[in-house]
Amino acid sequence: MADVVLSNVNKKFGTFSAVENLNLDIQQGEFISLLGPSGCGKTTTLRMLAGLEFPTSGEIRIGDRVVNDVAPGDRDIAMVFQSYALYPHMSVGQNIAYPLKKRRVPKAERGEMVAKTAEMLQLTPLLNRKPKELSGGQQQRVALGRALVRDPKVFLFDEPLSNLDAKLRGYMRAELIELHQRLGRTMVYVTHDQLEAMTMSDRIAVMEGGKLQQFAPPQEVYRAPANRFVASFIGTPGMNIVDGELREENGRWLFEAEGLSVDAGHLGPDARPGPAAMGIRPEGLDIGAGPITGTVQLVEQTGHENITVVRLAGDLRMTGRTAPDQIWKTGAPVQFSIDATQAHFFAEGPTGKRLNREDPAVEAQAANHATLKEAIS
């Protein structure tokens, strides 16, 4: 059952369009990430869900109600802010109790609920402290406590982990996943960090320029990016994207760039001859042997693998993954090949659509990926 629905939502600030014609269908109990670079409209979308911004047009539903005209406090949501937004003049206990107080929960019951929440988040010894006497991690837990205490229908998170250090961030990520599993509540999570989105979400909504680019499970976003933007945004190191041209020859498509030619096989009906782009993830490159020659520009050793950057003619750079013992000197010539079955082809432009591939070999890959998807979920 759909729990949160945005239909044709637009948000304009003056003439600037922050969110354009957004449609999202979030299922009950789902964990959804809104992912994109800053200024892509993800926070505006979340704030519209919360009732802190108002859509210029379109409809927002939470549960069975249209909430466009419902005040934030009556939407049965809770929100964790990037800045935590703890009330500085209230103690930790008062902060957590505030939403209950505003909902006229009797005092005795309130105390019990605060104690329970504090217990769960290990905040009990801190209940009488003021927010400024807490560490960043503790403040974060208080903000979480204030959201948890009244068991809302939907949780909204606005980059809640971005002010924590890397180690704590990893820990809190695991905590949030566990929390989601335990509560089974719908959660909408805004982040610019793809690692957070990939590890935590059931589905990711990738946004750019106020528009939804793709709304799919993490593996699908990774393996079958809807367009060039999603392809380049997701993945570290990023997908290699080469601008070139598509050409049709005897029913088969051929992608050509300077010093590079890849057999694209059969492409869907959207394919047109002319400017296009090819994308290939670093794991689709086989460095060490193959028909293409380049020079090694850089080898980054991460421990369990090496990231190798190869330079081709025309100043084109491609990144591949290699085994930790495969080390080349900078400037050394190297042979490599591109696994054409793993390559994606995109129509022209920065958000050019991915072209469907209709090859048996590629379909086999896709089937492989489908089973993988099942294994994950």
Binding site: P55, N68, D69, A71, D74, R103, D151
Partner: protein, 316 residues
């Protein structure tokens, strides 16, 4: 969990609902209404005591009004014509500019200098700061009384100091002769208002990151080079704002000059605000006074607009 349906008027019929969503949501409109309600007292008071008087000031300036009876006859722009051909307006404007430029430059020089001194780690810094700050906050009446006593020709301590230092042979009349009166007024003005510059500059100095000075030191800059290459450029912006603001305030200063010299001797320290007062309440020419006030406001408008543009660009 208690649940409430948001707006009290519930779900409107579908058509109206769609229309509402095309423009503003009900909630957004309710917020705007609340915003207007909260600003309403401000707007009312503004209209009653500022906007209305401002407009009537311009209206008044088109009449010839005898203050005690408040009876007036329409004279159109005659007041302005008369005023601009009279010597008094131009001499007062000149006096006003001399006062403004004189006291403002002293305020800036002393203010920046004092701020640099107080920025250093001197003994009892906060006490020193309080003492420096005090003149700015005392009433002009107090400042004038104290200075009049200091300036007193027979028993004033200032003449005593000057004479025992051998600077002068006979007591000086500080306020009754020219150019002494103008110099005295400018000095007292500088004394009263330079703390404003001190505090503003000090606040800015404290926000200059230490790395800038360290970097300059590593690059081999001495204390003087550091002042000109690091401190001054950092102060430029705040100084522009201070100068504009103080220029506006000094230009319209009434109390200090009126109380110290009353514009005298004769009219040598009579600035425009003093003329307005004189025309209205000594010469009983309310209409002419209004014309003076309006002209004065027009002159100040240049600085006001500059300052407003400045704060606006800074804000956005």
């Amino acid at each position: 969990m208690p649940k409430q349906v948001g707006p009290p008027d519930g779900q409107p019929d579908p058509e109206r609902h769609i229309m509402a969503m095309q423009k503003q949501t009900l909630l957004e409109r309710r917020y705007s209404m609340l915003g207007l309600l909260l600003i309403a007292p401000t707007v009312l008071v503004f209209c009653a005591v500022i906007v209305y008087p401002l407009i009537s000031a311009i209206y008044l300036s088109l009449f010839k009004i005898f203050t005690p009876t408040l009876e007036g006859t329409w004279v159109g722009l005659d007041n302005y014509r008369e005023l601009l051909t009279k010597g008094e307006f131009w001499t007062s404007l000149r006096t006003n500019l001399i006062w403004t430029v004189g006291t403002l430059s002293l305020q800036i020089i002393f203010g920046v200098g004092m701020a640099l001194v107080l920025h250093q780690n001197i003994w009892f810094r906060s006490l020193a700061r309080s003492l420096i700050l005090f003149p700015y906050f005392i009433s002009t009446v107090v400042a004038v009384l104290v200075w009049k006593w200091l300036f007193n020709d027979l028993y004033g301590i200032l003449n005593h100091f000057m004479m025992s230092a051998g600077l002068i042979e006979f007591p000086i009349d500080y306020l009754g002769t020219m150019p002494n009166a103008m110099i005295s007024v400018i000095l007292v003005g500088a004394w009263k208002y330079f703390p404003f510059v001190v505090i503003a500059v000090l606040a800015r100095l404290q926000s200059i990151p230490d790395q800038l000075y360290e970097a300059a030191r590593i690059d081999g800059a001495g204390p003087i080079a550091r002042f000109f290459d690091v401190t001054l450029p950092q102060l430029r912006e705040v100084l522009v704002v201070i100068i504009l603001l103080r220029a506006i305030w000094d230009f319209k200063e009434f109390d200090l000059i009126f109380l110290l010299t009353g514009g005298g001797p004769v009219t040598s320290t009579q600035t425009l605000p003093l003329v307005v007062y004189k025309e209205a309440f000594s010469l009983n020419q309310m209409g002419m006074a209004a014309a003076y006030a309006v002209i004065m406001m027009l002159i100040m408008l240049v600085f006001m607009l500059l300052y407003m543009r400045r704060t606006r660009t800074e804000g956005s």
